[in-house]
Symmetry: C2
Subunit: 146 residues, 2 copies
């Protein structure tokens, strides 16, 4: 199934199907949890061995490392991080879903930046989609060492 949202979460008629897609709902939950610094809810959305790109060249692997990274990110943005999904497309194949998103990241102390994010979700045995790869930097990571 391939779906599209010119402005994700805006719920215009043609976007209802996408807005109801469980992966989109998980991304909305994750974004809300990041902004609220609700790390328990946030970590529920990640698989055990998930990879988070903290910044180009640096990754956090596994739930404990991802939790620690998000805590540091919250401090870095002086607890004022804001996220806005400006466009999104899903490519779904079996139990795997690739999300391409234009994500605006901003904070009171930080000018808004648009990132070309890539997320991968897997559907677990109970039907829940969990994020296994979270890379908000897209191709910016290609020429960075780990």
């Amino acid at each position: 199934m391939i779906l599209k949202a010119p402005q994700a979460f805006s719920y215009r008629s043609e976007e209802v199907v996408l807005a109801q897609h469980p992966v989109i709902l998980q991304i909305a939950r994750a974004d809300e949890a990041i902004v609220k610094e609700d790390f328990d809810t946030l970590l529920d959305i990640y698989s055990e061995n998930a990879v988070l790109v903290v910044e180009p060249g640096r990754n956090a692997v596994g739930k404990a490392a991802i939790r620690a990274a998000f805590k540091k990110i919250a401090v870095y943005f002086q607890n004022g991080l804001q996220l806005r999904q400006k466009g999104m497309q899903l490519l779904e194949s079996g139990d795997t879903c690739l999300v391409l998103a234009l994500t605006e990241v901003a904070a009171p102390s930080y000018p808004a930046v648009e990132r070309k994010a890539c997320y991968v979700f897997n559907r677990s045995a109970d039907g829940t989609w969990l994020c296994c790869i979270y890379n908000s930097y897209g191709h910016d990571i290609v020429f960075h060492d780990i």
Copy 2:
């Protein structure tokens, strides 16, 4: 495991690990098969329900549709398609691997274009990595209807 190749397939010392990664080897096989128009070898690299982005807004789903799409692509490029991987990064989580690549597409009748490609591979039960999502257009697909 997270790996990096400033110039994929160039096999300089620091890239040996990446060059030997089975997903990179599959991409090299796929690129060679595309150029040679060896569609049997090419289709072996895709999973049964794989999704290929033919162009932004148009996808081929499943092996038969992907084979037909690659045949049309070969004709479109007047049987002279050339591919060059200029940089590549892998993000691997369990049996799922996201590849971000800078891929140069060229043909005698077609000026070279660099694409920011996103590929997703899954490891099957026998250990083989198969491509389930092949999107050479990256974020160019976000604002296109399917």
